[in-house]
Symmetry: C2
Subunit: 184 residues, 2 copies
DNA sequence: CATAATTTTCAGAAATTACTGAAAGTTTAG
DNA sequence: CTAAACTTTCAGTAATTTCTGAAAATTATG
């Protein structure tokens, strides 16, 4: 399957960006291909289109499934496994945020929780302790906030994001009404 | 300089997580070390403490400066360059978000902008075009939102994040008051 | 159950990324 | 200007990651 020029540019770009997004070139390319392709594709089609080995495609698809970004789709009368992207672009973005949090924040948060309670032995350790605690609190806040945002419907989330500078006014408004009860 | 056990755990963990955060092991370790160390450190101290080569430290410090996460500090009576972390943990988190956006989103946004305007030649290209456009819109929205959040004071940002599920109510409130003017 | 179709695994090869340490470059002091 | 103190660069090496392709495992068909 030969891709149109524009599609190629898109796919190669995803390949190049892949490593910055947490996966490798091939995985990036496979994802890009599935994103722009209207119909489900099987592993051989992907391998042939991207000129990569069958084994590599298998590993890439596994990786993308672990990210919950693609899903299997069976095609009637065909024994092969076909794949499509999981949900809308918006869904995928949410998933990426969640998965990245799992991989980039959760391990650190666990470690800090486990190591946080013991007290410091001297002044230097006291300082270290404090900064580690700050990191812990920040990561915890971020995590909780991410959870909350994830419970919002796409519409609400979108309208929140589109508030722009309105968010500041809204916060002021809330403070007035609530009488700054939650201030610390 | 020998680190206390707890500090070691922290530093090594940052080293291991480094690659997930967009830099390498050494850079992660140097950052962690500077975060928990109360005083500024010079390159030799860092190299010795982490048991890595002087050249590697030089490259790592350069990288961390390009991330705007550390800054030079001169120590009176000493010709060596000393380094400390740039700002509070909170400041650093903001910086990381900004820098990651630059590295992970901006290049894609540029490409999509440049490639978005031409029209599709057939049905398949039309589909690809639409999905690419969705990605473009999403990235643009994310970027703008990030910009807005960055203009908020740390206090306001924190109070926004601490709203939790209150954010949903606040949005409803706003819709009522504004008469859903901005709805699309 | 046998066999054909398909997917997965994984050892070795290739490609990429990170690190060392010595040489080159820069800055400061006298 | 010269020398000493310090930093950066970078060629070569080491470590890590990715990729291939053939063999093993799995799944479906008759």
């Amino acid at each position: 399957m030969e891709l149109p020029e524009k599609a190629k540019v898109f796919v190669f770009h995803f390949g190049e960006m892949g490593s910055r997004w947490g996966f490798n070139r091939t995985v990036g390319q496979i994802l890009a291909l599935l994103v722009i392709h209207p119909k489900a594709l099987n592993a051989d089609q992907i391998a042939q289109t991207l000129s990569i080995s069958r084994g590599n495609v298998s590993m890439g698809l596994k990786e993308l499934q672990s990210w919950r970004l693609i899903q299997l789709q069976h095609v009637a009368g065909d024994r092969k496994d076909y794949f499509i992207t999981a949900g809308t672009i918006w869904d995928m973005a949410k998933t990426v945020f969640e998965e990245r949090r799992k991989r980039e924040i959760d391990p650190t948060l666990s470690l800090l929780r486990a190591n946080l309670l013991e007290d410091a032995q001297n002044e230097d350790e006291e300082y270290a302790q404090q900064r580690i605690e700050e990191i812990h609190d920040l990561l915890e806040l971020l995590t909780q906030w991410g959870d909350h945002l994830n419970t919002l419907s796409p519409e609400k989330l979108e309208s929140l994001m589109k508030l722009g500078s309105g968010i500041s006014k809204l916060l002021d408004m809330k403070d007035k009404i609530m009488g700054k009860k939650n201030q610390d």
